[in-house]
């Protein structure tokens, strides 16, 4: 086999890899949307928002689901049902990101990410307290 054929075969393999990779990539993209948009999507999406503390928040031991109400940045509210227990740091999270799909008017989350940037950041108030 000569050098040219080698490059052609190699080129085809790499091209095939790139095409398959690109398609799979587009398929796996998870977009950030709001709840209004999430209702129109069939694919898994991520929604960032805030836990509504004064609405019902509970863990159901029978179905092993944790449900709460969330409001996104555009003031859409939706009930979120998470397949699992209440995540770490849920109460103190500044914001939560839920990953999943909308079904029957509820957001079925398979993942919850709690965002607590402040907890690792030092604040001068903490020193001030000890100065007193």
């Amino acid at each position: 086999m000569n050098g040219k054929a080698k490059y052609i075969i190699g080129g085809i393999i790499i091209l095939a890899f790139l095409v398959v990779g690109f398609m799979s990539f587009m398929d796996s993209k998870i977009e950030y949307v709001d709840f209004a948009e999430a209702q129109n999507r069939l694919k898994t999406v991520e929604v960032k928002g805030y836990w509504l503390k004064d609405k019902e928040t509970k863990f159901d031991g029978n179905t092993n689901t944790f449900s709460f109400y969330m409001r996104d940045d555009h003031n859409n509210e939706m009930k979120v049902i998470f397949d699992g227990a209440k995540p770490n740091n849920f109460e103190v999270a500044e914001a939560v990101v839920v990953k999943g799909k909308v079904k029957d008017g509820c957001f079925m989350a398979k993942d919850i990410l709690t965002k607590c940037p402040s907890k690792y950041e030092a604040h001068p108030d903490e020193i001030k307290k000890s100065q007193l």
Binding site: G21, G84, N88, V97, C116, P117, K119
Partner: protein
């Protein structure tokens, strides 16, 4: 001041060292000794600064912002040491420290002959200078009054620090980051060799000099990555060891590239080809280390990772970009400058089925895996969104299958020549064995086609390498390293197949003392018990004891949950029962606390508020503190009794009744109260909120139970205390851990051989 001063010195003399070594490169031989002295001076300044920083931590110098932020007086020695690299500044310090130390060994190594010392060391000094520059911008030696100007008075020493993130309070966390940083730092060496050899315009012998260093980087980085996986599995309780998290990915990508480089460098050593490939791979590997630092430190991935990111500030962000861009420019410039010479080395091999071609294709496949992971990990920078972890699994599965097959095939091929007959002969036995075992695996349940193929490929590679390793063990023991590493890799692949695809998982709610059956075990949650953690005296940790029974044998698993004051949240650690063929893995998910009253019976009242409850009209009049003081010592102690007065009106009468609650060590006990002549309702005072009263919100909560409604449970208890867990069976995960250890060991054994070759 000492710390900052040493960093400035380190930066300045590293620059001098660059200049001196460059002068040597341009034939000014007399500057060699200056170059060396300046490098030593720079390295020892960094070591001195690190020692000073460690001293500050160990002696609790809380006037330093970094020490105050990351540690406190309660941490034990090992954890205190790990605060050194718990924060951004410290981890840059550790990186610089490791780079400085590795450089000392490198310089001594290069000095033992004509080993490109001036060229390699001029680039290496540049690396050190850059890291020192970042430490000038992001100093671990800032005082609190400088960090918070105007808010903290000059000279104030905080009495205690904030303490260490509890996720890091763990054995694996005290060794995993340093190991990774040794790996990251050592990746600069191949880069410097590649640039150095381009400067020298000599492309043959650098391969031999650089090889032991690449093996070291590959081995140690591999070890660090594996420890991270074990930490995620054993401590974080992800339930797995690998989640394609951006931080994991960003250390895995350079590892793939360096491993690819090792293989094509072996090919160059034997055949003289792949010169450009090797230069490019060695350069890219370090650029990817820098890029991954950029990714994980710049805060761009904040939305898509479980690791926490703090914005390091614009200066660090920019200097990392400058750092990367400069190195890319240097590399491009060197290539363009040497393009004529490089073009002279055209490939000469004509046969397709040779070991060098197989190695090249194998390296290309490793690079393909790196590209896949890089694309997914970088996506959040380009667009708003993330990539589903499934993408990595789906894409890397065929790549891994290819890698395993190519691995086996390449070792059956000969260098330069190809003899089809011998190749097919060699193929025969390993392939037959692999097919037989795969058929066995399919029969016991591996029925997914791709996974069966993956198993076949891994087994094939396993048998090919085992056969060679056994043969070499008798004759040429020195050469055994590569085959050991491959056997390890094959085992890792088999472990992945078993544990990723065939683990079973179930969410269970274990009510107190009620046995539940899962996976053939009887699990009973028998209650929680507090325990003391010598490393963390701030928080009270709890074991949640689960009694496991099977075939008359018993054992207790103790997953942990506790409230962490530092992160203001509940932290959870899994517990694992290790068996020879599987792990039983228990992740605590949460505790359902017993509820005494049904939700619909509870009513919140503001003071003076009137509510209609059933056929009653109820008004909350006031608390009755008796002779206690509001907010006084008794209330603080958690041992007291207090009352609340309700004004209740039924169809006939109006009556003021006193409801009471008693606290013993903070645990409440409720007293029943009733109206005279009306048994239909019972009243309980369940919660008070003095603060709510002051803010005009609800002040008291009362349970008003209608006794005519039949209750499911005895008394008023509606739910039992229950532990919610995720239990899973991880089959043959031990194969995976054994494989990773064997894989890493293979790298280190190879170093011995490659060092002997250059002496």
């Amino acid at each position: 001041m000492l710390g900052k001063f040493l960093i400035y010195i380190a930066f300045a003399v590293s620059v001098l060292s660059i200049i001196s070594f460059l002068l040597v490169h341009f034939k000014q031989e007399k500057y060699l000794k200056f170059g060396r002295i300046f490098y030593y001076a720079g390295a020892f300044s960094v070591i001195g600064a690190s020692a000073f920083m460690l001293y500050n931590i160990l002696s609790h110098q809380f006037q330093y912002t970094y020490v105050w932020e990351q540690s406190n007086r309660e941490l034990g020695l090992p954890l205190l040491i790990s605060t050194f690299y718990a924060g951004q500044e410290g981890s840059f310090m550790l990186w610089t420290f490791m780079t400085a130390v590795i450089g000392i060994f490198l310089m001594r190594y290069l000095g033992k002959g004509d080993r490109l010392e001036p060229q390699v060391m001029s680039v290496y000094s540049l690396v050190l200078a850059f890291l020192a520059f970042i430490l000038i911008l992001k100093s671990p030696f800032n005082y609190v009054w400088d960090s918070f100007p105007g808010e903290v008075e000059y000279g104030f020493i905080p009495p205690d620090g904030r303490g260490l993130n509890p996720l890091l309070q763990n054995f694996w966390m005290s060794i995993h980051p340093p190991t990774l940083f040794v790996g990251f730092s050592s990746m600069a060496v191949p880069f410097c060799f590649a640039i150095g050899t381009l400067m020298k315009n000599r492309y043959k012998d650098w391969i031999g000099f650089a090889m032991p260093w690449l093996l070291f980087s590959g081995g140690i980085l591999g070890l660090g990555i594996m420890m991270g996986g074990y930490w995620a599995y054993g401590v974080l309780g992800w339930g797995g060891y690998w989640a394609w998290d951006p931080v994991e990915n960003s250390s895995f990508i350079p590892w793939l590239i360096i491993v690819a480089a090792i293989h094509t460098m072996v090919a160059q050593k034997r055949t003289g080809g792949y010169i450009k490939t090797n230069l490019i791979l060695c350069i890219i590997a370090y650029l990817l280390v820098l890029y991954s630092t950029f990714l994980t430190r710049s805060g761009v991935l904040g939305d898509s990772s479980v690791h926490s990111f703090v914005d390091p500030g614009q200066e660090v962000y920019l200097s990392l970009i400058v750092f990367i861009s400069l190195f890319i420019l240097i590399a491009i410039f060197a290539f363009v400058f040497r393009i004529k010479t490089l073009k002279k080395y055209a490939p000469e091999n004509k046969k397709l089925l040779t070991r060098e071609n197989a190695l090249f294709v194998g390296s290309l496949t490793l690079c393909a895996a790196a590209v896949i992971i890089l694309a997914g990990t970088s996506w959040p920078i380009i667009a708003k969104g993330s990539i589903d972890a499934e993408f990595y699994n789906r894409m890397n599965l065929p790549v891994a299958i290819l890698i395993a097959f190519i691995n086996g095939i390449s070792l059956l091929l000969k260098w330069k020549t190809s003899s089809d007959e011998k190749f097919i002969q060699g193929l025969f036995f390993p392939l037959i064995l692999a097919v037989i075992v795969t058929i066995g695996l399919v029969l016991v349940g591996v029925q997914d086609f791709l996974f069966a193929l993956f198993a076949l490929a891994a087994l094939f590679a396993f048998f090919v390498n085992i056969e060679i390793a056994v043969r070499l063990f008798k004759k040429q023991r020195d050469n055994i390293g590569a085959y050991i590493a491959h056997v390890g890799l094959a085992l890792v692949f088999l472990g992945i197949i078993a544990s990723a695809k065939y683990s079973k998982e179930e969410n269970l709610t274990l009510e107190l003392n009620k046995p539940v059956n899962a996976f053939g075990y009887t699990m009973t949650y028998v209650g929680a018990s507090p325990f003391e953690d010598a490393n963390n005296k701030t928080d009270t940790k709890y074991h949640f004891n689960i009694l496991l029974e099977k075939d008359g044998k018993e054992m207790v698993l103790q997953p942990v949950m506790y409230y962490s004051a530092f992160s203001q949240g509940v932290m959870k650690n899994p517990d694992i029962a290790n068996f020879a063929t599987k792990d039983l893995y228990i992740s605590p998910m949460g505790l359902v606390e017993p509820e005494t009253f049904a939700q619909e019976d509870l009513h919140e009242f503001k003071k003076g508020e009137v509510k209609q409850v059933g056929d009653l009209s109820v008004e909350f009049v006031d608390f009755d503190f008796g002779n206690m003081q509001k907010g006084g010592e008794e209330i603080q102690s958690g041992n007291f009794e207090m009352g609340a007065i309700l004004k209740v009106k039924d169809s006939k009468f109006t009556e003021n009744i006193l409801t009471k609650i008693k606290y013993t060590d903070g645990n409440p006990e409720y007293y029943e109260a009733k109206m005279t002549g009306n048994d239909n309702y019972s009243f309980y005072f369940t919660k008070m909120a003095i603060k709510g009263e002051e803010e005009g919100g609800p002040a008291g909560t009362f349970a008003i139970v209608d006794n005519r409604v039949k209750k499911e449970h005895d008394e008023h208890q509606v739910t039992e205390e229950a532990l919610v867990i995720t239990a899973s069976i991880k089959p043959f995960i031990n194969i995976l851990w054994a494989g990773t250890i064997i894989l890493v060991a293979g790298f280190f054994i190879s170093i011995i051989r490659r060092r002997k070759e250059i002496l």
